[in-house]
């Protein structure tokens, strides 16, 4: 029988009780989605990496705020990352560095059954999305957040979050439609 997967909250509690392995599990669970989120906002791989680590440090220092999250810590982490990214974007240093490009792929296929060519096309199409639409996609699909959580994390009304997601899908469909 498969071992039940511990929730984010359980892992955080375990970490606070001194089990550092729990933190590594949390980190492994969220780092890829957070990195993609940071790359979407900053367009700079190196800055994005810094930001992911800062986000985890914020989680460690967050005290009861993160513990208040029920179940997944995704909304907390993505909201924290977004705020850190906004701070970075506003700094002069960041604006200079953001001119650098994002090199490596944004997404990868889940399993061998997925056509890598199709994923590569999707990757390219995702990069052409406006940042707020890309954010809606990655938070909903990759961070597994509900639309309400997406709206809270991006500080927009629920309807806006939904419409951004719909607009992103439409744009992706338009872009990839010609591939068939």
């Amino acid at each position: 029988m498969a071992e039940p997967v511990a929730s984010d909250r359980d892992l955080l509690v375990a970490y606070r009780e001194g089990r550092e392995g729990a933190f590594e599990s949390l980190y492994a669970r969220h780092k890829n989605a957070l990195w993609l989120h940071a790359r979407t906002l900053l367009h700079d791989d190196a800055l994005a990496e810094d930001l992911v680590h800062e986000t985890f440090l914020r989680l460690v220092r967050s005290g009861d705020a993160a513990m208040a999250a029920s179940g997944s810590l995704g909304p907390f982490l993505h909201t924290a990352l977004r705020r850190l990214a906004i701070d970075r974007i506003r700094s002069d240093t960041a604006s200079r560095r953001r001119e650098e490009s994002v090199g490596a792929a944004w997404i990868r296929p889940l399993g061998p059954a997925v056509d890598p060519g199709e994923v590569a096309d999707l990757d390219r199409a995702l990069r052409r999305l406006p940042a707020e639409q890309m954010e809606a996609v990655l938070l909903h699909v990759y961070a597994d957040m509900t639309f309400q959580e997406v709206a809270d994390a991006t500080e927009v009304p629920l309807k806006t979050a939904i419409s951004r997601y719909g607009a992103a899908l439409k744009k992706l469909a338009d872009t990839l439609g010609g591939r068939e």
Partner: protein, 338 residues
Amino acid sequence: MNEQDIEQLLRRTAPAEAPFGARAPRPADLPSRRPPAWILPLAAAAVFLSFAAWVAGRARHFDAPADGELEALVAQLDDASPERRADAERRLLDRGPTALPAVERAARRGRAGAQKMLPWLAGMVPISADRVFFVRFGIYDRLTADSIPDWMQPVLATDRPYLMIVRERDGAIETTAVRLHLHATRHEALPETNLIWDRDEQSGHFLREPAVALPRHDLRDIFVAWPRLRDSSFAFMAKDARSLFEGLTASTTRGPAHVRAAAAHALRHFFTFRSVEAALRALEDDDPSVRAAARGTLAVLVDPPEGAAVAEWWAAAADRGRILEQRCEKRRAEMRKP
């Protein structure tokens, strides 16, 4: 490929593997739950150095010529008497930004009166945690929906912060009260680099308002940008004046005709006794555009009889002023009751 196909394809992918590795930050990277042994001597040294710096700072403070009156006014903000508190508030507002450091210091020390005063004096209040600021002037804070008469209610400046924008359209002066988000880099000149944003009531988003532009020299005569904080925030203060209102009234006598007209028009958004007086003075201006703007303003402010002579306007304004004064006094008396 339709949108459902796209969604399915997205769900068959995952974010690319982050290249910064398979490991989480180690305890060395992260703040430990238990302080390491070396932290105590370091903390003791830090406390000692802070104390020494404080002592040195106090010594410098005692050497420096202190603005005794300013400090007394700040202390008076916490006076038991409402009249004395109000007097201190008024006099500190009159001092303008020069009073800000003293009030900030007192606010940091937890003085309630200074904390209340700070946003008025600073001219700006934070609206969110992401360093966005609205512009606010103290003059609005001193009028509330409760303290003004009913006849002013429809045109009341609410407690929402806003700034007057003066613009010229088809040769006529217009003023618009807009809520603003101002963002500019420190030391950049006003108004070339300022972006004017209006907040969309429906969506809550900030929208660029293309029709509103800061007329260059007109507003330069009235406003001066006052850089605050360490980056990218501006407050507007009336130039050579202690409040925006005084800036506007001063421009009715000093500035060129179109600035006087703009000011006369803008006065309708400032509901004080002095705005009525200023508009009445503008009625006697040599320039017809100023007189026209003032007449329109007075129509908003005091609703005078149709085709009235200037003397009648004065009388109407005086009546309104007395009513306003009585109602404010009544309101103040009510507030003084336990």
